[in-house]
Amino acid sequence: MNGSGTSIDFRAIDKILEKYDYKKSYLIAMLQSVQEIYKYLPEEAMTYIGEKVEDLSPATVYGVATFYAQFSLEPKGKYEIKVCDGTACHVRGSMPVLNAIRNKLNITEGKLTSENGLFSLETVSCLGACGLAPVVVINDKVYPQMTSDAVSIVIDTLLKEEGGN
């Protein structure tokens, strides 16, 4: 969608469509499967589904994809950071944690992904782990009771694993 150079393997998408019998009632499941492969929904993939599934159009697929917050239309980083900003996390200091990550990775407000493409950052409404507030989740691993210092250390560890700064 933004010239990121992702090449689409339509055979893989055909497999997904076959799995769901080309039925339009499975559209959300289809999009979830596509997002599992690419970590986001490439425009070509949405167009392809809109063309191949009866009674769907690319515009309708795009409409569904933009309706739900679970779908991303932009490529995501290798590490997907989710900062919980539900009520409990918010009052226990999720904003300082979020700002610390932004500063550390140089991701300005309104942006999704760090410049090196390694990290993407978003806030979510509630992860259902209010007892551990404030919570940060990185690629499905939960980091409880975060502070700006603690989250800095977590990111430093990840950067080290990536080999260097």
Binding site: E44, P58, A59, V61
Partner: protein, 588 residues
């Protein structure tokens, strides 16, 4: 109908109902009305705008407010249309819509023809309590046919439904809540998506969010320039619809008045596209008979509808060989004029402008096709829609309703009944059969009213004909949605028909995207079609091969149908417009 007659009460009056799909239809049948933006009888009910709310009292005394376009009629209910509550709700809806609406009414293409403007006035909205919005979105001017201004959209979804339910759906809702927009896939310009330019979205839009791309000023600059000679020709459907803009009833044939108005505007010669339609039949019937004899490239697809052509080129290029190679009547008439009008008017091609008046927005795309140009100049310089012509007539201060009828110029204004029925779904096929019968059998078809393929509400009609031993089946469809079903039959090898007539607009060109607004009344289509069939019955000649001017043109210029010269001028080629990303793994 065998259903029991049931009754309900509207404003205290007892009203019968049977199978009406919703309460709003019952209200209208009873001669009353409520305002609505999103309800269109030919589309599914959506219940988006909440303008049609009514107060309903059930027999048990319970009262509630409901949108009449989505509520099924129930026996015994008492319906009030204009209570303090319903009026207040409608006013609030209007105010909230206006809060998010580009308020530049004065310079809006739809000013004076806008439902939002009309209801705001009727409901006495003198002040909008909310501030004007500050985030204006860019206007999409990319399409040759349609302009999309998202700042004037009220999200009623009529265009999305029309595009989805009539055609193949290039418009959709995007995002959610206050960020919701109606747009093509990923906000792309209309010119970059598979839009076939049919203009049905424009026809159902209640505001100025979707409008016809206007060529009025360009045409005025030519007709007012003394150095330039202008010739004009007009499609069949225009004559039975234009009058509606001047208070005449739908279906009234105002061809004579239109001829007079065009001359008053300043066109030097006035012709009729029906002549081109007769020419199309000569070529297409010959082509059809040839294909049936040889048994190749059947079924033959008609090629008059530019929206249909673009659809085949985009979605099914592998079936391009089925399309008749005949140009549309407009694109046959124009090159003939380009060849012969300069001598008649004493000018060279550079100083001749050819204008076509069409019921169709897709013709604005057709006229720009390279293959319909000669020496880099379009055969049809400009296409104006019926609505645009109406605006020109108004701005010229012409009292249309009281004009004395005039005849078109000869020879390219002469036509038969076969040419005039081209405007209604089934008309092209009927006209072709009238001539093909003669070509195959040598005899004249006696009963030329082929009623089985007439009608504006059925989307698929079929008839089997016996051409003295040669049996052919002709299928007639309107809307791309319906045409696609026939294409799938052909692919599956189950198609039993030899000719497929397709018109992209429901009911045919009489209901085209460039016609005066008719989306809130399903009857108008039928009235316009009847206007054409009436003219057909009254004309002295009703078969294209009896058009004396067409005969003369062949004798003196084109030799015979499908001759080399005819092919050069009257036939065309098509382009594969399919984009690579749609080709699936298996098709590579």
């Amino acid at each position: 109908m065998t259903e029991d007659k049931k009754t309900l009460f509207i404003e205290g009056k007892e009203v019968e109902f049977t199978d009406e799909p919703n309460l709003l239809e019952v209200i209208r049948k009873a001669g009353m009305n409520v305002p609505t933006f999103c309800y269109r009888p030919d589309l599914t009910s959506f219940g988006a705008c909440r303008m049609c709310v009514v107060e309903v009292e059930y027999p048990n005394g319970r009262k509630m407010i409901n949108s009449s376009c989505t509520m099924p009629p129930e026996a015994g209910i008492k319906v009030s249309l204009n209570t303090e509550k319903t009026r207040r709700i409608r006013k609030t809806v209007l105010e909230l819509l206006l809060a998010n609406h580009d308020r530049k009414c004065l310079t809006c293409e739809r000013s004076g023809d806008c439902e939002l403007q009309q209801y705001a006035e009727e409901y006495g909205i003198k002040e909008i309590r909310y501030a004007d919005k500050d985030d204006y979105l860019p206007v999409d001017n990319s399409s040759p046919s349609i302009v999309r201004d998202p700042n004037k959209c009220i999200l009623c979804g009529a265009c999305v439904r029309a595009c989805d339910e009539f055609q193949h759906g290039v418009l959709g809702f995007a995002n959610r809540g206050s960020r919701t927009l109606v747009q093509p896939m990923n906000g792309k310009p209309l010119a970059d998506v598979e839009c076939i330019n049919c203009g049905q979205c424009v026809a159902v839009c209640p505001t100025g969010a979707l409008t016809i791309k206007s060529d009025i000023e360009e045409v005025w600059s030519r007709v007012t320039n003394p150095e330039i000679k202008t010739v004009v020709h007009m499609a069949p459907s225009v004559r039975v619809a234009l009058g509606e803009m001047f208070g005449l009833e739908a279906g009234t044939n105002s061809i004579g008045k239109i001829n007079a108005a065009l001359r008053k505007i300043g066109f030097d010669m006035v012709f009729d596209t029906n002549f081109g339609a007769d020419l199309t039949i000569m070529e297409e019937a010959t082509e059809f008979v040839g294909r049936v004899t040889k048994g190749e490239n059947l079924p033959l697809f008609t090629s008059c509808c530019p929206a249909w052509i673009k659809y085949i080129e985009t979605a099914h290029p592998e079936m391009l060989n089925h399309l008749s190679s005949c140009k549309s009547p407009m694109s046959m008439q124009s090159p003939v004029l380009v060849q012969l009008a300069p001598q008649m008017l004493g000018v060279d091609r550079e100083h001749l402008t050819v204008v076509a008046i069409m019921p169709c927005t897709a013709k604005k795309f057709e006229c720009k096709r390279e293959e319909l140009s000669q020496n880099g100049k379009q055969d049809t310089d400009f296409v104006l829609t019926t609505k645009e012509l109406g605006k020109m007539i108004k701005s010229a201060g012409i009292d249309f309703a009281n004009l004395e009828p005039e005849e078109a110029d000869t020879p390219f204004g002469e036509y038969t009944g076969a040419g005039t029925i081209f405007g209604a779904s089934g008309g092209v096929a009927e006209a072709a059969v009238r001539t093909a019968y003669q070509m195959v059998t040598g005899d004249e078809l006696a009963d030329i009213d082929i009623l089985a393929i007439r009608g504006t509400s059925e989307r698929c009609k079929e008839i089997e004909l016996d051409l003295k031993g040669t049996k052919v089946t002709v299928r007639v469809v309107s809307t791309i949605k319906e045409a696609e079903k026939s294409l799938q039959e052909i692919k599956a090898g189950t198609a039993k028909f030899q000719m497929l007539e397709v018109m992209a607009c429901p009911g045919g060109c009489i209901n085209g995207g460039g016609q005066p607004r008719s989306c809130d009344n399903s009857k108008i289509k039928a009235q316009r079609a009847e206007g054409l069939y009436k003219e057909d019955r009254e004309l002295p000649q009703r078969k294209s091969h009896f058009n004396p001017s067409v005969k003369k043109l062949y004798d003196e210029f084109l030799e015979k149908p499908n001759s080399h010269k005819a092919h050069e001028l009257l036939h065309t080629v098509y382009t594969n417009r399919r984009k690579n990303c749609y080709i699936s793994a298996g098709e590579e």
